[in-house]
């Protein structure tokens, strides 16, 4: 295994034993970025090489002084471009935040820096995290490392592609309706959406506040468990972060499923899920049974309405969250305007891309007087029902097993002209955000060389069980050493 392919836990061991230096690790990743970034396009902003190496040297110096090393000390990491970081511009892949340098850091970023992680840069995404392919970005194209003619998924497509391509060891993304899990599935890596309230949202530029969570990407389950542990925990700066104790997630990684009852909700395998995904999930279920799990089919009858409810609630919150972007206090301001209203309108009109504008309009409409009860109110009722159904199902099952996405990665421009088609690619992930539950996606097979994602959904604040399931499956299925054959872009 090349050094740039090492998982974080392997790097940690190598650093502690003196087998490698942090500088060597950083150089390996920087070289890898140099080789493949022009093909993949995972990053929006990379830090200067000398700054990255200086951070790595500081870790080596600390080791020489005999200081102890945290799990991500000296590990090259990437963050999504919607997490405030003083070291980088934070733009949410939007023109409206062009040149915005936050004066403060997101709590998750602070925690990683507190471990002396080596920050490489921030990654491409759909503008304001609104999208499922990373095509809605003002910052350029990110390509799927498994097939450069296909999308990496989204909205955290840059983070997923960076980890898959070896351009970062681990990365943070954010998941509002599947934006960590779906790109993880498309790029063949592990991605986890924590329970709502597990990771602080402070400094994460809000898309839909009641749904957003920061989540980890890694090339194996252990790295994801470790990264979750590094960023999780109560934050007094986020009133929705829960003061729940953070367990040792790594300790939960047991390579069997004995004694675990799992449910397979049939609604997640309904029409629209491709035959190859269905077949891969069926095979995965067989393997879980071999590993000692008891698996039953179950039903969550309101889940088919989840996508509709989500596309009312998320845009409603977004329409309010994005009101602050008007080019007055930060970001890009339209030039040559003569009054406030014109400046405001033009700054927003020029700054936001079409998908963001569409969702602002959808959300504004859904909250309008006379429509509120019909749309927002009704969607909240659906959300309540979905929460209740998940709670009931999870009182009988330790976790639920579903596909992460209804298909493998699709081609560029395939769904850009049909927003409803694009929205449907979140059908398996959105219900979990509405319920606020944790879920993890990991590779469970390939179709024509493209990864398929398996999703485990757990009880609130029980990431341990889904991590254990993912780990047991990963060890048994032994797919994790398959690496994408990045080839030069065609034409």
């Amino acid at each position: 295994m090349e050094l740039y392919e090492w998982p974080a836990h392997r790097i940690h061991r190598g650093l502690v034993t003196g087998e490698v230096s942090a500088r060597e690790v950083a150089l390996a990743t920087l070289d890898r970025i140099g080789q493949v970034e022009s093909s993949v396009g995972a990053y929006l902003h990379l830090r200067p090489r000398e700054d990255v190496l200086a951070d790595a040297d500081a870790v080596d110096a600390a080791l020489r002084r005999g200081e102890s090393l945290a799990a991500f000390g000296g590990v090259p990491v990437a963050i999504k471009d919607n997490m405030c970081c003083r070291l980088l511009p934070t733009t949410c892949a939007s023109r409206i935040l062009e040149g915005f340098h936050p004066p403060y850091d997101a709590t998750a970023v602070t925690r990683l820096q507190g471990q002396r992680a080596v920050l490489l840069g921030n990654t491409n995404m759909d503008e304001f995290a609104m999208g499922s392919s990373t095509e809605h970005s003002a910052g350029g194209v990110t390509r799927n490392p498994w097939d450069l003619g296909r999308v990496p998924g989204g909205s955290s497509g840059g983070s997923a592609a960076a980890v898959a391509a070896g351009e970062a060891v681990v990365a943070l993304g954010s998941d509002t309706g599947g934006s960590v899990r779906q790109p993880a599935a498309f790029c063949g890596v592990v991605g986890l959406k924590p329970t709502y309230g597990r990771v602080s949202r402070f400094g994460l530029v809000a898309f839909a506040s009641s749904l957003d969570q920061i989540g980890p990407f890694g090339r194996d389950v252990r790295d994801v468990a470790l990264l979750l542990g590094a960023v999780a925990g109560h934050d007094p700066a986020d009133a929705t972060s829960r003061p729940a104790e953070v367990p040792d997630f790594e300790a939960a990684l047991v390579p069997d499923c004995r004694g675990l009852r799992l449910g397979v909700p049939r609604e997640f395998l309904a029409a629209g899920v491709s035959p190859e995904v269905r077949a891969a999930i069926a095979a995965a279920v067989d393997l879980l049974v071999e590993l000692g799990a008891e698996v039953q089919e179950c039903s969550l009858p309101t889940v088919p309405y989840a996508l509709d409810a989500y596309y009312v609630i998320a845009p409603a919150e977004a329409s309010s969250n994005l009101a602050r972007f008007e080019g007055v206090r930060f970001g890009r301001r339209a030039q040559g305007t003569s009054d406030y209203v014109e400046m405001f309108r033009r700054s927003r009109g020029e700054g936001f891309g079409p998908e963001v504008r569409r969702r602002i309009m959808l959300g504004t409409y859904a909250l309008s007087a006379g429509y509120y009860d019909q749309y927002y109110g009704k969607a909240q009722q659906v959300r309540t029902l979905i929460c209740r159904e998940f709670e009931e199902a999870l009182s009988g099952y330790a976790a639920l097993v579903t596909p992460t996405a209804p298909s493998v990665a699709f081609g560029f421009a395939e769904k850009m002209d049909d927003p409803l088609q694009m929205y449907a690619s979140d059908v398996c992930t959105v219900p979990i955000n509405l319920a606020g539950l944790p879920a993890v996606s990991l590779p469970c097979g390939f179709s024509n060389g493209l990864p398929i994602g398996l999703q485990f959904i757990g009880r609130a604040f029980d990431e341990e069980t889904i991590l254990r399931l993912a780990y047991a499956y990963e060890q048994a299925a032994d797919l994790r050493h398959r690496r994408p054959p990045i080839v030069a872009p065609r034409g």
Binding site: P102, Y104, S209, D238, S319, R324, F330
Partner: protein
Amino acid sequence: MSVGTVEQRYETVVGLEVHVELATRSKMFCSCPTDFGAPPNTQVCPVCLGLPGALPVPNARAIEYALRAALALGCEIDRECRWDRKNYHYPDLPKGYQITQYARPLARHGTLRYAGGDGERSVRIRRLHMEEDTGKSTHEGMPGGTTGVDLNRAGVPLIEIVSEPDIRGPEDARLYLQSLRTVLLYTRVSDVKMEEGSLRCDANVSLRPVGTQAYGALVEVKNMNSFRSVQRALEYEVHRQAAALDAGERIVRETRHWDEKRGVTFPSRSKEEAHDYRYFPEPDLGPCALTEAYVEQVRASLPEAPGARQARYERLGLPAHDAGVLVADPALALYFDRMLAGGAAPREGASLLTVELLGRLNALGVTVGESGCRVQPEQLAALQELVASGVISGKIAKDVLDEMVAGGADPQAVVARRGLQQISDDGAIVDAVRSAIAVNPQSVADFRAGKKQALGFLVGQVMKATKGKANPAKVNEILARELG
């Protein structure tokens, strides 16, 4: 022609919406200071600037203050009250929404009782909720045509207190507002100064023919910056609406601005009324979750309410007016309570405080409870006792008080140092009386001829000779005996 006065023909129905800035040290959702008058945009942080990714965290002290106000107004508390977003665009509103409480306010169903023009008044409080203040837009001192935005005030905690339409006229509105101010002063949650904007009031006014129940079309009046302007604006509005109704016109439901200089209200631009605030639950904040024990603890910590205090002072023998003067100012009332604890007689003590001490402090531009006031309530009580026990006369007491106000000295020390003890020794007074009789034969003759006022002149001469220290009662008694 219409018969009778406006008041005889129409009943005025008023509801007041009052915003009160809470006197917390930090803002509602961040730790920025709230000091008034700092240079623009110096008391700001990512949260109150509405920077991307910043999140609100409720200020527990602000919630406590709002709760104190709600309990002082006898409200029912919603211990699971919620936060909502009120969405609108304005340059001084950094997030594009205000965090407020809409569907589940902190408190409802309160009552404010106060002395009205013709007897006890009772106005129901519909709701009391918490919210954050906006920044300020300013054109002053800005280069031509530009607008400056100062966000120091953005995020300062406010409560909004909405009355039911129980207020029955312009004067009643002023009395309600003044009484509300007093109640809030006692809770110590705000300095409630209308001039500085820590108390702001909008009024909803309508008229209906006397004897009818249906409400007339509602007019909202804004921009009233003093208690007096509330009354004046409403008086103007009542007469404007009455004249329109008399002329057979319909009252338009609208928002009007009060112009203090011209003494009129005028319609605001209708654009402001076309708002659809798109309220929805604030997803960044959970419910408040106040425990019953906490609410009761705050309730128990409230000071005696103004109404109860008034009644107590009257029971102590104070005339209603004097008691009212003390109660209207919590600092004065607390000072007076400390005087009572220090042994002062209620009536005499109240007079010494409100007439003598306040008169002297006014001249210095300070009031009780401020560091400029160097007389402690216990010292003032001691001064009153010196008069009551006959050690000094009331007249000497004023001189002693002058020195106490100037130097903060104890009254006993001043009296002792300057030898101001009253002369009650008969021998000394007899000498002075005899000497006065000897040098004023005409006055003696006048007195004997039946002119009673001549006695006063002789008393004055004795007081003069004793530098005011002779006990006046003794002087009268001995003078009568010597002349008799």
